[in-house]
């Protein structure tokens, strides 16, 4: 199969600026990283004459300093899964999400930048990165920085302008004495399938077990991965119990907008979203040291 009928030239930029320059200069150009999305469903109906491959542009790395972990955009899902720093960081939710990401073959090619760039509602990394309050660095005419909350604006659309690429994802390291617990959950039809519903949570508690900060994100239940701000607010300042968590998630239907597709009905997704949200909060609270 010739994967792109109109393709004429394949480019290998040496760095992100070089990639941006090529995007501005070449007509009908697209960025390609692992190609696992682009070659399967990413080009429907689009004419593409130029592919700009950024996997040799120096963007494959994981670096840790005192305050942050920085992940280069072309770091593969396998590299995230096996990186020693992600075994413990944030209760291992990055490697847990990477391990649930389809198959070894896809994980060896697929990249974190491609995952965010494709802006699929079923992304397994987006909920995790939202729970971790990640920042996304973008290179274009100028360099920009976005919080992941707000990076997605509508179905398969991000805040990025044309001719911009994601270069780096930055995760803050927890500081201070408060304890934070993290959780990731994914429900799929099979181990291999994309999520019917997925999500992640980060809950910080004080010495008395009261919630000081909460982040809860869900995927596959709206046009993009979402933060559930109202549920988060319902948890603040409280010592959690099962009843309290259930009550906090009662109005989840207001936060989500699930759709019916070949995999599941909107109704099923709505029901499961509540179960997943409850489990995530409970798991993260317990991992933070809270007692339920």
């Amino acid at each position: 199969m010739q994967y792109i009928r109109d393709l004429k030239k394949y480019h290998w930029p040496k760095g992100p600026q070089d990639a941006v320059r090529l995007m501005m200069q070449e007509p009908c150009a697209e960025i390609i990283a692992g190609g696992t999305e682009l070659l399967v469903s990413g080009l429907k109906g689009k004419e593409v004459n130029n592919l700009i491959d950024i996997t040799r542009a120096g963007l494959s790395y994981i670096k840790k300093d005192k305050k942050t972990i920085k992940i280069g955009a072309t770091t593969t899902i396998s590299e995230l899964q096996h990186a020693p720093v992600f075994k413990d960081f944030a209760d291992g939710i990055i490697s847990a999400a990477a391990a649930k990401f389809v198959s070894v073959q896809i994980r060896n090619a697929a990249t974190i930048g491609g995952n965010l760039g494709a802006a699929m509602p079923s992304s397994d990394l987006a909920p995790v990165l939202m729970a971790l309050d990640a920042k996304i660095f973008v290179c274009g005419k100028e360099n920009k920085e976005f919080a992941i909350n707000g990076f997605y604006i509508s179905k398969r659309k991000t805040v990025m302008a044309p001719c911009e690429i994601i270069t780096e994802i930055e995760l803050p390291l927890a500081c201070g004495d408060d304890k934070t617990g993290y959780a990731f959950q994914k429900i799929g039809r099979t181990e291999m399938d994309i999520a019917l519903v997925n999500g992640a949570a980060a809950i910080t508690i004080n010495a008395g077990g009261e919630v000081k900060n909460a982040r809860l994100s869900l995927g596959s239940v709206a046009p993009n991965t979402i933060r559930c701000l109202e549920i988060e607010n319902n948890l603040l300042g409280k010592k959690l119990t099962r009843e309290l968590i259930a009550a906090a998630c009662d109005n989840i239907a207001k936060a989500i907008d699930p759709k019916t597709d070949v995999r599941a009905s909107a109704k099923y997704r709505g029901t499961i979203a509540k179960v997943i949200a409850t489990r995530l909060i409970e798991e993260a609270y317990i991992k933070a040291g809270g007692k339920i």
Binding site: M1, L39, S103, Q105, N108, A109
Partner: protein, 155 residues
């Protein structure tokens, strides 16, 4: 355009179209163990090892393989002698029609290159991207575990 690469330890230069997938190029050049299945990265029949990592060749642009080191099922045997892994697949009945087998063998081979001491869950994970419509999964998984055991003994 020309593509320089190494396939099963031999240097090769293939004539390719910029639009070819690695699957197209392998099959066109006689490596027909690389099977054409779903074309969408789901079934694993087209698995090859590129620089030590198993990938789905059906969604892998061939141009990405300039200077790459590739292993296909043809490269698993040495001087006409099947590898321990291949022998175990036969011995333990891990093959029926055989369509999925080259992909399974390469996923398992890539695992054993990195991890000669796999646990059952590692083997299941390594084969999770390879669909089999006849044998099922128990026998292939058992065959990989048995091969790992024998390869340890052989060292």
């Amino acid at each position: 355009m020309k593509l320089n690469l190494k396939v099963n330890s031999e240097n090769k230069i293939f004539d390719i179209d910029v639009r070819d997938t690695l699957l197209d190029v392998m099959r066109a050049n006689g490596y027909t163990s690389v099977k054409h299945g779903c074309e969408t990265g789901e079934c694993g029949a087209c698995t090859v090892i590129v620089n030590g990592a198993a990938v789905n060749s059906c969604i892998y642009p061939a141009v990405k393989c300039e200077d790459a080191d590739i292993i296909t099922c043809e490269g698993l045997e040495t001087n006409g002698k099947l590898s321990i892994l291949q022998e175990k697949f036969i011995e333990m009945g891990a093959i029926q029609c055989g369509y999925c087998t080259p992909g399974m063998l390469l996923s398992a081979h890539a695992l054993l290159m990195k991890n000669p001491n796999p646990k059952l869950k590692d083997v299941k994970d390594a084969l999770s991207g390879n669909f089999c419509r006849c044998t099922g999964y128990k026998k292939p998984v058992d065959a990989v575990m048995a091969a790992a055991e024998q390869m340890k003994g052989a060292k």
